[in-house]
Amino acid sequence: MIDTLLMPFSYGFMARSIWVGGSVGVVCALLSCFIILKGWSLLGDALSHAVVPGVAIAYWLGLPFVLGAFVSGLLAVLGIGVVRGNSALKGDAVIGVVFTAFFALGFLLISLNPSTISLTTILFGNLLGISSGDAWQLVAIAGGCIVIIALRWKDLLLYCFDEQHARALGFNVRYLNILLLAMMSLTAVAALQTVGAILVIAMLITPGATAYLLTDRFGHMLWIAPLVGGLTAMTGAYLSFFFDTSVGGLIVVLQTLVFLIAFMLAPRHGLLAHRRRWQQEASS
């Protein structure tokens, strides 16, 4: 029995995917705390799709895919900014136009040159088949972002909560804005490798949303979310060994399960707590 449970760890690729998945889960979850509070969920979705052409070109030219993803993510954000600033269109429409354009371009590039990277990898991720070189890039991204968040989370929190106050105190909000977007682009590409472009957004929202239901303190969210994100990603990768399922699908289903439990049982913001409060108010 124990032998069976420990079996995944005896395979190098399994151990690697558990660690890589876990670190990507942690960093996505940390960012998700800022994304859901800033109201950037749609932008996160956009970025996770907009990095695809960059990844395709980078693979094509033999450059680190991180570089390609980063450039293409920033170009998309820039594009969104330009169209928004020069039209009366609503923000979500602009984001929709720009990110589907980038995604489509990515598809086109991949289909032109299918030998370098497959469409399935982009769409559904390939955590189990990740090369050790790519694995190191992902761990480097995750580590870098975790360090930046550890050092700068209070400024990012101030920026998300009250941008005007941040300006009044002389903080460079443009720099904080770019810092957050840059980290989102980088983690989007990391998550793309693990769960695929379609499910990246779950990694960038669900853990933060779960933590938000469980606490009223941002400091606590920064512990709960990565714990949820990291453990679910590791468990998903581990379980996929036995069930031979899509790793990305498994990870996101696990995250959703944890979210649902929080949604029902959270001490103050859960469904049952609300129900109890209504009954108390009705009876008093």
Partner: protein, 270 residues
């Protein structure tokens, strides 16, 4: 980048708004050619109908909106410079804040200190003392641990006033601090503003509560995209100017009563 609250050696006016115009993204003018000079140790009321550009003027002064033309000077320096020296505090309208945000009253007031903290933004003893003093001053020390959404309208205003106090700035801009608050809170805020003025602070306050304006404001500015009137309260706060600023919409404040109320203002002075 220095973030200290240096006292500039030069005295002179605290805020100079010089022929400032601001344009909306749609191309319409929000403000046109507005000029004001606010001296240190004074309170100025900013009056006007909804949509007259009061908030826009506040934001132009704070440096949140770039003027299309004209300039704002804070103690003779550019706004950017004043921001870095931590001398400008802003109390926003209630609608501008996400009240579901997972932060406590204490956290928000501590954000007033963030420009003074070191690289890791770890509060020092002086920061904690400033936060506790500010909370006590506005009378919400007992609410420090509350999540900000679980507060009444008056308490919400007090939190952001406390944050501005904790900042220990020299200029404070308040956008409608009396909207939706009870009389107790209104009086408490007015008392604090008067104390701050006596301590040397320059205060600009957007308000719709006209009846108390002569009680605590040294100067009054009325705008309706353009500047209608600006000057000492006793010269500017007149039925004629109010009628011009508010047109037909001024119902809750009988203009003819105002003329009689002008005299008793003296009684408030020591």
């Amino acid at each position: 980048m220095s973030r200290h609250n240096e006292r500039p050696s030069d005295s002179g006016p605290a805020i100079v708004v010089d022929k400032v115009s601001v344009r909306y993204a749609s191309g319409q003018w929000a403000l046109e050619n507005v000029s004001l000079t606010l001296e240190s140790s004074s309170i100025c009321a900013l009056l006007g109908i909804n949509g007259s550009g009061k908030s826009t003027l506040c934001k132009a002064i704070m440096g949140f909106l770039p003027p299309a033309s004209g300039r704002v000077a804070i103690f003779k320096h550019a706004v950017r410079h004043a921001q870095r020296r931590n001398i400008m505090a802003y109390v926003p309208q209630v609608e501008e804040i996400d009240w579901d945000f997972p932060v406590s009253v204490y956290d928000v007031v501590m954000m007033g200190r963030q420009g003074r903290m070191g690289f890791l933004r770890i509060p020092a003893r002086a920061d904690r003392v400033a936060v506790e003093t500010s909370l006590a001053r506005v009378g919400i020390a007992d609410l420090a641990k509350r999540q900000i959404g679980a507060l009444s309208g008056g308490q919400k205003k007090r939190v952001f006033l406390a944050r501005a106090l904790a900042q220990e700035s020299r200029i404070m801009v308040l956008d409608e601090p009396f909207t939706g608050v009870d009389a107790t809170t209104e009086n408490a805020i007015i008392d604090i503003l008067k104390q701050l003025r006596d301590e040397g602070m320059t205060i600009l306050v957007v308000t719709h509560n006209l009846s108390v304006v002569p009680e605590y404001c040294d100067t009054v500015a009325m705008i309706n995209r353009n500047l209608i009137a600006f000057g000492k309260t006793e010269h500017v706060f007149t039925p004629a100017n109010l009628a011009q600023a508010f047109g037909g919409v001024l119902r809750q404040f009988p203009l003819d009563l105002l003329a009689q109320e002008r005299e008793p203002v003296q009684e408030h002075l020591p």
